[in-house]
Every structure is written in structure tokens, then in C-alpha cells.
Amino acid sequence: MSAPGIVVAGLRKRYGATLALDGMSFTVRPGVVTGFVGPNGAGKSTTMRVILGLDAVDEGTALIEGKPYHSLRHPLSHVGSLLDAAALHPSRSARNHLLWLAHSQGLAARRVDQVIEQVGLTSAARRKAGGYSLGMRQRLGIAAALLGDPPVIMLDEPFNGMDPDGIIWMRGFLRSLAAQGRAVLVSSHLMSEVQDTAAHLVVAGRGKAIADAGVADLIAAASGGRVALRTTAGAHAMRVLAHAGATVAATGRDTITVSGLPADRIVMLLSESAVPFSEVSAHRATLEDVYQELTREAVEFRAATPTEVPR
């Protein structure tokens, strides 16, 4: 059996003086939603176009289930994608938009009606797509991606323009697709959008993946085994703990962050020294913190660079 999911290895692409991709590598595995995050211009969209064979690279490979996109005979039954929800002919109805796509893959009109129902557009299917809101266009784009019932799904900024209900629907929908065993890659420039959906994250910056790990691992690494301590006797507590070899820092009026000691040892030390405390908890970094940390360098670089990455 061929390798599942998407494997991107060492993509390098230059547009004139701008290096759009600089060794982008990551893997999208089946069964989970992989978030593809990073600031605008980090190379997310370019990478997706390369995966779909739309843009050529100077170096590197992008494989779908172990095969280059060009060699796929029914591409849409291998990978469904949504790059741009506005990519529609405005005077063609939504159903007809899906119909030509279905015909190109040898699929029947019946399949079109199935995916329309799946994304909840049945009542609007015969209306001109030009009159659709951005949220409806996103749903139509998802329908197009599902048309070939592919094991790999790739969506570029699918939350754009969606209302809160739509975002909740989209999150659930993406999770259900992954639960069916599909490999799902979802890009976003806002970490908050993929926060509760993705189990795996690829963080892009300056044309390469600066992180490619599970969400739990990333948070653990960012938390760094720190413990948050709430106490009214801050100075006393810091003395006791520093003496025991911990690194301590006051982070608020009543809060202290401790690293270098596990939580149970801290509780024991404080009790022995009769330091009052009201709460001891593992400090938990948010994904947003992780993201900020990882992309800070990339954003600074971008701000200092006058040339914009095209598209």
C-alpha cells in the first residue's frame, strides 16, 4: 500500500528576488486534522499550489499517497482541495459549478446532490454562485473538495468570512472528516481558528516549516514543566524554593512561576516551611503563546523586508 497522506519534502521556489519556499517539509497524516499556520506570506498557499501541481518548484517533492499530483488519474478522488472560495463563475449556479467538476472526474450528477446536502446548501444549490455570501462560497468549496470522496483533504483558509455558526460547523465537520480516517490539512493565519480542531500543527515561517509536531507536544514544550504558585507570602516562598534549587519568578501580585521542581516537591517544601499558599498548578501555555513564540522571528523578518511575497 502506498504512503498515506501528504508528504512535502524540501520545497524550494523563487519568484524573482523573493524566496517563497525555502526548504518546506512536513507530513500530513491520516486520521487527524493538521493545522497549517503561519503569518501571511509564510508560503502556505504556495505550498498548497505546489502540492496540487499548479506551481512548479525549483527543488523538492510533494507527494499525495506517495505519488506526484501529475500522475494521478482521477485527482479529485485522491485529494480534494479548496484554495480560493471566490474561484467561481458568478453566473453559473452552485449545482452546475459542481456538475462540471463531477463530469471531469467521470462522476454522476447524483454525487453532486450528495455533497450539496452534506454541506447544507441544498436549498440554494440552483442559485447563481455570484450571489453567494463568502460563507456560502466556503461551503460550496468544501462540497467541491468532497466530490471525489478523497482520502486527503486540503483547505486554504476555510474559516475566512464564516460567521460564528459557520466556524463551529466547520470545526465539527473537519474533525468528522479526520475521524473517518482522512488526512486533513487546514491552513490559517489565525491560530485561534484551528486551536480546537487540529491535533497536529505545521507552523510555517519564511518559506519553511519551523515546527511540525502534535499540539500536546508543542504545548508541553512551551510550558517547559513550569508550575504556577499562588501565595500571599511571595518573598518567603521564593526564598524557600530557590534554596531548593528551583528558578523562580514573580509573575503577578500573588503569583509566582517556578521551574526546575515538580509540583509535588514544591507542595512538600512549602508545607515543611509553613509558607501559606492557595493554589499550585502546572503552568499551561496556550497555542497562541506557542505560535507567537515560533513566528516572532518570521514576522520581524518580514517587517524588515521591503519585497512582498507575491500571491
Binding site: 498515506p4 497522506g5 497524516r29 491520516p30 486520521g31 487527524v32 499550489r49 496540487l52 501541481g53 499548479l54 506551481d55 512548479a56 499530483y69 501529475h70 494521478l72 488519474r73 482521477h74 485527482p75 479529485l76 478522488s77 482541495s81 484554495l83 480560493d84 471566490a86 474561484a87 467561481l88 463563475h89 458568478p90 453566473s91 453559473r92 449556479s93 452546475n96 459549478h97 456538475l99 462540471w100 467538476l101 463530469h103 471531469s104 472526474q105 467521470g106 462522476l107 454525487r111 467541491a144 471525489g148 470522496d149 478523497p150 482520502p151 473517518q180 480516517g181 482522512r182 488526512a183 502534535g214 500536546a216 507536544d217
Partner: protein, 509 residues
């Protein structure tokens, strides 16, 4: 963390893969954009509408009938005829020592000149009725001795012009419906020029001497000429009526004869076998210049021009809209073999616009012709095979032009640029040749090398070597044969399509 998951496998059967699916997809794309379907329907309607307008707006009721030859074609049959009846078989012989022509250079200012197809000789003709069958042998202004019959047939005889030092002797024999012409330079050695079979001469035909002098071409116009010939040693054998010769102007008033130059007229003088005959006009097929009020199938199908603009716009938009809306990403993701996408688009567009052009022409041609004729307009007749060629050619013209627009649209990825380029390439040369003051050499060049050469596919007029005239595209005569003209446009379309395919493959989408 690599959870053990079973990768998703679709239970759906995999559809067929191939070019047919792409064609199906592109056809679905085309038919589901109302604007494109409307554009193509409008193209067909424009062809019909303009034909209706051309037919309805023309009014030539009461104009004299155009003489029609035995083959059904319009003819010029206006000449000076010195004749008597020939009741059955017989022969006639004559010497021609002189044929001189005059051309007006101003009002009442007649100067000697050369009229290449001035004709003087012997003729046996069913009657003096215009368009009646005949056979004749003659000397000409600069094409030597010729034998001609029934207006369109022409056989060369002795070369050289006639003069007192180079007298030409001519002979015509009738035997049933076979007429044989002979020529001699010395009166002893006779050369047979040809035998022709002329049906419908009847038991009693008219035979004798004739002089004709067709209009002389000067730049972009013609001037009526007049010619005088000297005949000697006129002899007849067989069932001739004998006695007096009668002089008549055949076809004095005719749409295909502009009349004699000012202060001249047809005449004959002489007796005892020597005559001097003056005449004007021609015995020949009519061409556009000699029948300026006549219409052609191409005139009726002028709406093709408007249809062309419509299909060029649709052809360009068929691809440029995909670029404008980024829809091309979806198209190429669905079909990574990009050249096949372009070919599928070209096939769908070509078939649709071909059908529109064909349908428009099939309705417009008979309808417009019928209306024009009902309003007294003479329409140059065409064989049904020619009418079929024009209808198919109109469809092919629209199809090829729209495919060219598709290819240019793929190269430019921009509607306005593509539409402008193709319209300039096809329509501008067409407008230039539609200008009557365009020099013939320029028109000729434009209709050989530019995409406008394709309009040749609608031409129905045939130039005749034995008729000096203005055979320009403006008059409906194209330098290239119908399908050769279309092939020029097809060449442009094919090259553009190849360039477009190469760029489509090479460029990032």
C-alpha cells in the same frame, strides 16, 4: 505521536478517465453560463437578421431583367450583329484585316486604345434574343483568335493581333448542333480551333458578322469602349437565306450593358462581301463590375461579420474568465494534463460556434435570397454545392475565429487584450477590404496573409479570364480559393493554440 489509524478508503467506484470526461466537463461549463449561450445564439441570429434586413431594404422592382445564359448564369449579351437566317447546315468564311478600338478619356474625347477582349468575327446564334445559345470564332484585341460558345466557354486559336499585314481568316461550319471553327493566316492552310455542340440552335438560326467591345478597366473603374472591324471576302455555303444582311444591336438596353460611349453608336456599312462594322458591349459571362446592381450570397451573409465579433468575445471569455476568477486552479487541479484541457475547450467551442454559424447561414441564405429577389434584386445564382460550401464555411469561419480567440485568451490571460487582438487581426483587414478605394494590391495582400483571408470561404463569384474586370475582394473576388482562405485563418488558430498549450504547460497556474 503516531496514532494507529486506518487511512480512509472511498467506497465509491472510480469513474472513467479520459478525454471524453474533459469534453463533458467543458461542455457543462459552457452551457451553464447563460451569457455565453446567449452570445452564440446572438451570433446565429445576427447572420439571419442582417440577411432579412438586406432582403427587405433592397428595392429594385421594375428594373430590366438580367440576361441569363443557357447554363443559368447571368451574361452580357450586347453586341452589333450583321446577320441573316441560316435554315439548317451551312458555313461562313471571312477575312479580318483590321480591328481598332477607341476608349473615351473625357467627355466626347475618344482616343484609340487597346481593348484586350474586343471581339470581331463570325457567330451562329439561336436568335437575337439576349442569352440565347451561340458559337462564334473571332479575332480579339490582344488575345489572338478565339472560339467561344454559350458565353462561358473559350478556346484559343492562332495567336497575334490582326492588321493589314497580318490578316486573319475565319470560318464557322454548322452541322446539326455541332459547330466547328477554323482559322487561317494565309487562306490556304486552315487550322481547326474547335468543335462545340450547341443545343437549342433550332432549325433556323441567325448567322453572320459581329463586333463587341467590352468596357476598359482603368484603375478602380471601367469606361465603355467602342471597336470597329473591317471584314472582307465574306462567303456563305449551305442553307443561308441569301440576299440582304441586317444590322442589329443585340441587347441595346440591358443591366449588363452600360451603352455606347458618348456620340458613338453601332453601325455597319458595305456590300459585296466587304463590310465595316462598329459595335460595343460583350458576349460573355456577367461579372460583378458589369452587373453592379446584382447581389451575392456573400452580401446576404454580411451578418457573419457581427456574428464573428460575438463568437470572438465568447471564445476569449471562455478561458479568460477562468483566469480572472482563479477558476483555472480548479480546472487544472481536476485535469493536471493541461494541453488536453485546452484541446477540450477548443473542441467544445468549435462545435458550438460551428453549429451556430451553420444554422444561421442555412436559414439566412435562402431567406435573404428569396426576399431580395422578391424585391427585384438580381442575386448571382449559385449551385447547391456552392450554397452548402458557403453554409459550412460560415460555420467553420466562426468556429476557427472563436478558437483563435480562445488561444489568444490563454496566452494573454486577459479578456480585453485577447478580444482586441483577435478583432484587430480579423475584423480590421475585413473593414479595410470593404473600402472601395483600397488599392487592389493591398486588398489582395490583406486577403492572402491576414486572418481575413478566411472570408474567401463565402465567395460565390468566379473570375473569368476572358473578361477583363476588377476582381478585388471588395467586388467579391478573393485571391485565394474558398477553403484555402479558411486554411490561412486555421493556420493562425493552430499556431496560437500550440503556443497557448506550451505556455499553459510551462507557466504556474
Amino acid at each position: 505521536m503516531t496514532p494507529t489509524v486506518t487511512p480512509y478508503r472511498s467506497g465509491r467506484p472510480v469513474g472513467r478517465d479520459g478525454f471524453f470526461q474533459l469534453l463533458h466537463a467543458e461542455w457543462t461549463k459552457f452551457r451553464t453560463v447563460p451569457g455565453w449561450v446567449t452570445g452564440v445564439v446572438v451570433a446565429a441570429l445576427m447572420v439571419v437578421l442582417v440577411a432579412l434586413l438586406a432582403g427587405v431594404s433592397s428595392n429594385q422592382k421594375g428594373s430590366p431583367p438580367v440576361p441569363i445564359g443557357p447554363g443559368g448564369e447571368p451574361v452580357t449579351d450586347s453586341f452589333y450583329f450583321v446577320h441573316q437566317p441560316l435554315a439548317g447546315n451551312g458555313s461562313i468564311t471571312v477575312s479580318v484585316p483590321a480591328l481598332r478600338s477607341s476608349i473615351p478619356t473625357g467627355p466626347a474625347d475618344l482616343r484609340p486604345g487597346i481593348v484586350p477582349w474586343a471581339k470581331a468575327g463570325l457567330i451562329i446564334k439561336q436568335s437575337t434574343r439576349q442569352g440565347s445559345p451561340y458559337a462564334a470564332i473571332m479575332v480579339t484585341g490582344s488575345h489572338g483568335v478565339r472560339m467561344q460558345d454559350n458565353y462561358v466557354h473559350d478556346t484559343a486559336g492562332l495567336p497575334g493581333s490582326v492588321s493589314a499585314a497580318s490578316v486573319r481568316r475565319l470560318r464557322l461550319d454548322r452541322s446539326g448542333d455541332a459547330i466547328t471553327g477554323y482559322a487561317s493566316a494565309d487562306g490556304r492552310h486552315w487550322t481547326k480551333v474547335g468543335t462545340v455542340h450547341v443545343r437549342g440552335l433550332g432549325p433556323t438560326a441567325q448567322g453572320g458578322l459581329f463586333v463587341a467591345s467590352p468596357p476598359s478597366v482603368h484603375g478602380m473603374g471601367t469606361r465603355g469602349s467602342v471597336s470597329t472591324a473591317v471584314f472582307e471576302d465574306l462567303r456563305t455555303h449551305g442553307r443561308w437565306a441569301g440576299g440582304i444582311w441586317t444590322g442589329d444591336q443585340v441587347g441595346r438596353k440591358s443591366p449588363s450593358f452600360a451603352g455606347y460611349p458618348q456620340n458613338t453608336s453601332g453601325s455597319f456599312t458595305g456590300s459585296d462581301g466587304s463590310f465595316t462594322v462598329t459595335g460595343a458591349g460583350d458576349i460573355a459571362p456577367a461579372v460583378r463590375e458589369t452587373l453592379p446592381t446584382g447581389g451575392t450570397l456573400k452580401d446576404i451573409l454580411t451578418g457573419t461579420f457581427a456574428a464573428l465579433i460575438a463568437v470572438i468575445v465568447v471564445g476569449a471569455l471562455y478561458i479568460t474568465t477562468e483566469y480572472r476568477k482563479n477558476l483555472i486552479h480548479l480546472t487544472l487541479a481536476a485535469a493536471p494534463r493541461r494541453s488536453r484541457v485546452l484541446v477540450a475547450k477548443a473542441v467544445v467551442l468549435g462545435v458550438v460556434t460551428f453549429v451556430a454559424g451553420l444554422a444561421g447561414a442555412v436559414v439566412a441564405a435562402p431567406l435573404g435570397t428569396w426576399l431580395a429577389r422578391a424585391n427585384g434584386v438580381y442575386v448571382f445564382p449559385v449551385a447547391s454545392s456552392t450554397e452548402l460550401r458557403v453554409a459550412l464555411g460560415t460555420g467553420a469561419l466562426l468556429a476557427t475565429a472563436s478558437i483563435l480567440a480562445l488561444a489568444v485568451g490563454t496566452i494573454f490571460r486577459h479578456s480585453a487584450g485577447a478580444v482586441t487582438t483577435v478583432i484587430v487581426a480579423i475584423v480590421l483587414p475585413y473593414l479595410l477590404i470593404a473600402n472601395p478605394f483600397m488599392p487592389a494590391s493591398v486588398s489582395d495582400w490583406l486577403t492572402r496573409v491576414t486572418p481575413a483571408a478566411a472570408f474567401a470561404v463565402q465567395q460565390t463569384l468566379v473570375p473569368y479570364h476572358q473578361v477583363t474586370s476588377i476582381y478585388t475582394p471588395y467586388n467579391g473576388y478573393y485571391p485565394l480559393a474558398p477553403w484555402a482562405g479558411l486554411a490561412v485563418l486555421a493556420g493562425y488558430a493552430t499556431v496560437s493554440l500550440a503556443v497557448a498549450a506550451a505556455l499553459l504547460r510551462r507557466r504556474d497556474a
